[in-house]
């Protein structure tokens, strides 16, 4: 027996993790040097959420997945060329600023307003997915605030697994301290799930899925509403790269025994 769900995934776009980042001051506040030309990817933990959403939807016929993403239209289009080939979804783009420096409260307000206005969304079936933290701001608060604004009373963060039961209730595993998972059972939707890594590998590119997605993605991007994010009283006193640079001693041509002795001594030192 299946349980149709309406899964809304909130996912931003972030600079490719291998890019070198340099903060700069812009008229709109802090930003990254050449931010608009840095290669971008879907936020990694939010991408896990998207793959888990698609998997859950596939196992429960009648379900639907929306991907709500806030960013500059041009960057969203670029990232969607890849993401669209992974899993089926309906894109809900919001044309807004890029990066981790805008205020999370303002971001959450725009996302919540957009989700509340989604045509055909049944809030009784809603599972709100996203990454538990982004790779930009990394605050872990945006999804929580969106859920709160939508009046969702059950929230889970650091989720690695969800098992949906026949009655619509589900068991969820959340990361807690010490390498453990807290196990909870929720009566069912609506709920917020901020995903960590999950358990699914990144799906392989599927051109057929890509073509089907792109039929709706391009018109959606053309119609994307523009959003301006308020600073909300947030002021950046400074933004800088860490200056910590160590004098690295490179040890070559030493036997394993010599290295092991040196390491054993170092490990035994108090500090």
């Amino acid at each position: 027996m299946s349980y149709p769900l309406h899964i809304v995934v909130c996912a931003g776009i972030v600079p490719d993790p291998l890019q070198t980042l340099e903060p700069v001051t812009t008229p709109a506040g802090p930003g990254l040097k050449n931010e608009m030309v840095l290669p971008a990817v879907l936020d990694p933990w939010a991408a896990s959420a998207l793959y888990e959403a698609a998997d859950l939807a596939a196992k429960n016929p009648g379900s639907k997945v929306w991907l709500v993403s806030l960013g500059p239209k041009a960057k969203l289009q670029q990232v969607m060329m890849t993401v669209a080939q992974k899993v089926a979804f309906e894109l809900v783009p919001i044309d807004g600023p890029i990066g981790g420096f805008p205020d999370a409260h303002s971001t959450a307000a725009v996302l919540a307003e957009t989700i509340a206005a989604l045509p055909g969304l049944d809030r009784g079936k809603l599972l709100l997915f996203g990454g538990w933290e982004s790779a930009t701001r990394g605050a872990g608060v945006t999804l929580q605030l969106v859920g709160e604004r939508l009046g969702i009373a059950d929230q889970f963060q650091g989720v690695d697994q969800i098992d949906l039961h026949e009655d619509g209730s589900f068991e969820v595993l959340e990361r807690v301290e010490g390498g453990k998972h807290q196990v909870s059972v929720c009566a069912g939707a609506p709920a917020v799930l901020g995903w960590a890594t999950g358990s699914l590998a990144e799906p392989r590119n599927n051109p057929q899925v890509g073509m089907a997605n792109m039929r709706t993605i391009m018109p959606a991007l053309q119609k994307a509403k523009a959003a301006k994010l308020d600073a909300n009283g947030l002021r950046y006193v400074s933004v800088s790269l860490p200056k910590q640079q160590r004098e690295t001693r490179v040890v070559k041509d030493r036997s394993p025994d010599e290295i092991a002795r040196e390491l054993a001594e170092w490990i035994g030192e108090e500090n």
Binding site: G138, V141, D154, R175, V237, V250, I259
Partner: protein
Amino acid sequence: MDSILVLTHADESGSALSKASLEAVTAGMELAGKLGAGLAIGVVAADAAAVHALAATGARLLAVTGAEFAQARYGSDAAACEAICRAAQASLVLAPGSSRLARVAASVAHRLGGCIDTHISAVAVNGGIEAARWFYRQRVEAVVSRAARPWFLLLDAGTHAAYAGAPAAVEAEQVAVTLPPLRTTVSGFRMPAQDAQTIRPDAKMLFVAGAGWTKKQPDGQVHAEEAGKLILGFLRATGASLGSSKSLVDQGSEGNFVLPFLTHLNQIGQTGSTPRHAKGLATCCHGEEPHVVGWRFIGARRAISLDPNCGWTRGKADVVYIADAFPVIARLNALLEAKKA
């Protein structure tokens, strides 16, 4: 004039405060001292005895206690924290960035019409209050301030010493909470067997295993089983915590050789954790920036690498040994075991 509330919660025993909570108490006392501000401490716990650890703080103590608060659950914890915040009427709310409070703090700030910043590594008073935090997964450091109040600051673990005042029997003001209908039940925890648990947040050392452990060795063969034994042997001998690179953890889902005790929870870096330990030893890691990110808060750092030109070690590690980790760790384990014996 700002006033300060420190939100805390009990550990799994239900009757003692978590270590992260005691660290937040220290931060609150320090900040209150600098500002000359009033200090209140709120406690969410199953057992009212959890407040005894705070007897010597001299702060106003508020508590929400009862069986409903034994479990870390969004509905009950958010209601409890909201009630404490309304009772305290503080303009600054400090709290540990624990999984329990990180799950609810933003919502509580929203309910109170306030703002929140998380992963705070330092709080300073320079005319106003300034909080330091990292962006882009520990790659960019920023200092922020806010005009809005109440301002919630979630503190990263390990940034302050845990408060250790003398415990004594003390009564806290009990704060009444109206609970919403609770639709979630916490049924427990899932974890590896005690002797198989490789994540140890309180360990002095972090041992990082990279993908090189499961690559072909000079004899043309993969020695994943031997690698596993060596790594676990090192963890046993030192009590170290185990971190790994994403590439090593991902190998399982890609059908390659895996180390069976590694999970995504071990992962450090861009899509993993950024743990705090006094020492770190990296082995068989390659040169990606994400590894540097995962090491941001490691004190003394050493690495064993076959690559003399490995970019990530230069300027990041204190010492890098250009060597094969297999024989080095084998001999090191033998030395450490002999020393223990």
